[in-house]
């Protein structure tokens, strides 16, 4: 998505792209609306017995009243749901019912903490692995085995050993977001250009200065790329983790609304998750731009 907006082909293309995007959106809405047009109800309430009317009421289909909610929502219903959540994002009805902003804050807090921990481990470790071909080979099998494990597979183990559900959530984010950072940092450090290292050697730069003044700036774009991938993985993981452990967060919100079989709330939550994920990605794209230099 972002490549469209960063295109350098002049404003006219950008404008046209925006127009096409808008058209696509309207087309989607129209199809959605048409697909959800109410089917004409046959038979009026007149020729129903009292029991039949009661039965219909019990199914939530009060003859004469508005149609019941539920099933796949129509665009108008979805808009109402979204408006309801967005107009009061900070309400707090006890531990099981909080506004969307509070839920998001909980999720972002967990992601931030897990991600930070992962950074603290992955970047230094990646540095060491990148500088030493021996360690790189020694660590490689472990990374290859641990990297593809799904967050949901970690969860029971985490719950059993850590014995705390919110710490387990943070651990799962940590363990899933550490690998791209580790691999990218190691790769970035290992592929710093020989000439620069040689220059550093000629100038007799100490090992610490070399690491911070030569290798780090040179590897920074790759490291940030690793962080960007990790962040999007962390955001993917949090929803699954929170659906499993419950409590708070956007994942719990999805689970709670699924429990109510309320699809319009679930769709709203999905939209929010998508938008927040995009914003996080944009943030790292900015950061990436800031540390990239033109040779």
């Amino acid at each position: 998505m972002t490549s469209i907006w960063r295109s350098r082909a002049g404003p006219s293309l950008g404008l046209r792209a925006a127009l096409v995007s808008l058209l696509l959106f309207l087309l989607l809405l129209a199809i959605w609306h048409l697909a959800k047009l109410p089917v004409a109800q046959s038979g009026a309430a007149v020729n129903l017995t009292a029991e039949e009317i009661e039965y219909l009421k019990m199914l939530g289909k009060d003859p004469g009243a508005s149609a019941k909610q539920g099933g796949f929502p129509a665009p108008a219903e979805f808009a109402r749901t979204a408006w309801k959540h967005l107009s009061d994002p900070f309400y707090d009805n006890g531990p099981n019912d909080k506004g969307i902003a509070i839920q998001l804050a909980h999720s972002l807090g967990r992601v931030g903490l897990g991600f930070l921990l992962a950074c603290l481990v992955a970047v230094p470790l990646g540095f060491v692995i990148g500088m030493s071909p021996l360690l790189r080979r020694a660590f490689d099998p472990y990374i290859q085995v641990l990297k593809p494990i799904s967050p949901l597979a970690w969860m029971p183990l985490a719950l059993y050993t850590i014995k705390d559900s919110s710490a387990s959530g943070i651990f799962v984010i940590f363990i899933c977001s550490i690998w791209p950072m580790l691999i990218n940092t190691a790769f970035g450090v290992a592929s710093v250009r020989r000439d620069w290292l040689n220059v550093a050697a000629t100038l007799e730069v100490g090992p610490l200065r070399k690491a911070f003044l030569v290798i780090l700036p040179a590897a920074a774009p790759t490291i940030v790329t690793g962080m960007r991938i990790s962040m999007s993985i962390a955001w993917l993981v949090i929803v699954a983790a929170e659906m499993l452990v419950g409590g708070t967060g956007i994942g719990y919100f999805v689970w709670n609304e699924w429990n109510n079989l309320s699809l319009s709330n679930v769709i709203f939550a999905i939209t929010v998750i998508g938008v927040v994920g995009m914003l996080l990605d944009l943030l790292y794209a900015r950061l990436q731009k800031a540390v990239t230099y033109v040779e």
């Binding site: 039965y55 531990p95 019912d97 014995k163 499993l244 709670n256 429990n259």
Partner: protein
């Protein structure tokens, strides 16, 4: 660890368990140490004593005396033992193996609350009604407790959070504490059932396409869902199909599926039906994808389903808090039993922070006037009920079914486990303290699908079924 009277002489004269020269009879049916003929006189004397400041000492001594009585049923043995080792040694020895102080504190229970901020887990189903509604109705705060009822994503998580001690007490499926105490499906941790949450209240729901297949004999190859292995849902479904000649392990498929996903899977045609908790049976009717084949009330009228309980450790450490919780939940159950309160309760527990369900669905479940999905309005007032008595015979039945289906291997001491896990005596005591009617007995017989279950013959019962898992 135990609070003991300094010397036998300082204790009241009514019970003197460590006095070798006095008989220890406890033989009157009122539980007191006097001949039945002297009951009236002694009871009057007791009443005046209990008004005095000695009431606490008296209670402590009574608990100790009961324990000694249990250890030495023959009085001459007790006397010889006490004469041989001396009263103080005997007291210390007994206190080191039995939780004397905890029992004494439990008998007292008017003391200060050890813990006021509590977390109680629940699964959002109508079975949890008493413990959920105690929150908005203020029954917890009435007892001086600050309780947070926390919605939980699944039964396995309830189990884990109880083992982790994240929850102080919780909503259980009633066979779960038995399974956890026995170490089935998890590490063994002693759990206890304080009260049953609800009786009846489940149903077998089938997909609409099976409207003409109401006979279970036609169900070969069907796929069913239940919420958890150690659940009445699983045991009742197995019992029901086995009574109709199907082996639940080979002729049908039983999967563990969370209740809301039961409805979605039924819609998708992934399963043919489920024996699930309400409101999800009624929800399938409301969504017009299934119908209620039968209420579990028709299999065993008054069967238990969910329970309220906690760990043995929590009770030992917080006896007063536990007693307060007991009172709150029992008050709640008494209110939920009354038919005239059911509509109000449906309204109270419908919002997002509790069950998060349409009110009309909950109302049908709780009042028993419901649409059955086949075009009829049925009226079954006791479709769901809230009888809190944790009858130990029910626990014994669950154990026989765990044996029958291979969850539990080898010989089982039914009564020992049932009495350890189902706190019937405590429930009765707390009900009496609240002025609620208390039924007698511990092992009432009941009928499951027309066949009487006698807890005294449990082992034979478990072996008597033709369809069972081969040992």
């Amino acid at each position: 660890m135990s609070r003991l009277p300094e010397s036998p002489e300082s204790a009241s004269q009514t019970y003197a368990p460590y006095d070798a020269d006095r008989p220890l009879m406890l033989r009157c049916s009122c539980g007191q140490d006097h001949a039945p003929a002297d009951h009236g006189k002694a009871a009057a004397a007791m009443r005046s004593t209990s008004l005095s400041t000695e009431a606490e000492t008296l209670s402590h001594d009574f608990v100790e005396a009961s324990l000694i009585k249990a250890i030495f049923p023959v009085d001459s043995v007790r006397r010889r033992f006490l004469k041989a080792v001396g009263a103080n040694t005997a007291r210390a020895a007994i206190a080191s193996v039995l939780p004397v102080s905890a029992l004494q504190a439990m008998a007292q229970d008017k003391g200060a609350l050890e813990k006021k901020d509590l977390k109680i887990g629940f699964i959002p189903i109508t079975c949890a009604t008493p413990l959920i509604m105690a929150h908005p109705m203020g029954f917890y705060s009435q007892q001086g407790l600050n309780v947070e009822v926390v919605k939980t994503a699944g039964w396995a998580l309830i189990r884990d959070k109880m083992l982790n001690k994240e929850y102080d007490a919780t909503h259980f499926l009633s066979p779960m504490p038995l399974a956890m105490s026995l170490g089935l499906g998890s590490t063994a941790a002693p759990m206890q059932v304080a009260t049953i949450q609800n009786t009846n209240g489940q149903a077998i729901t089938l997909a609409n396409k099976h409207k003409d297949k109401r006979d279970p004999k036609d169900w070969k190859g069907f796929k069913f869902a239940v919420p958890f292995d150690y659940s009445m849902h699983n045991f009742l479904l197995r019992y029901y199909v086995a009574e109709h000649g199907l082996n639940p392990d080979t002729d049908i498929q039983i999967r563990v599926v969370p209740p809301p996903e039961m409805v979605a899977n039924l819609r998708a045609g992934n399963i043919d039906g489920y024996l699930g908790p309400d409101p999800f049976n009624q929800r399938a009717v409301y969504e017009e994808i299934g119908f209620i084949h039968l209420l579990t009330k028709e299999l065993w009228d008054g069967h238990p389903c969910c329970a309220f309980g906690t760990s043995a450790e929590f009770i030992q450490q917080n006896p007063n808090t536990f007693a307060a919780l007991y009172r709150a939940v029992l008050t709640s159950a008494a209110m939920a039993r009354k038919a005239e309160n059911r509509e109000l309760i449906a309204k109270t527990i419908a919002p997002a922070q509790y069950l998060n369900q349409p009110e009309i669905v909950l109302q049908q479940v709780l009042t028993g006037k419901f649409a059955d999905g086949l075009g009829k309005v049925q009226n079954v007032p006791n479709r769901a009920d809230f009888d809190p008595m944790p009858w130990q015979s029910m626990a014994v039945w669950m154990l026989t079914q765990m044996q029958r289906w291979g969850y539990l291997q080898g010989d089982v001491n039914y009564k020992q486990i049932a009495e350890k896990v189902f706190l019937l005596t405590d429930a009765k005591k707390q009900m009496a303290a609240l002025g609620q009617p208390v039924p007698a007995g511990a092992y009432p017989k009941f009928k499951v699908m027309g066949r009487e279950f006698d807890p005294a013959q449990a082992a034979d019962y478990a072996k008597s079924f033709k369809i069972r898992k081969a040992a």
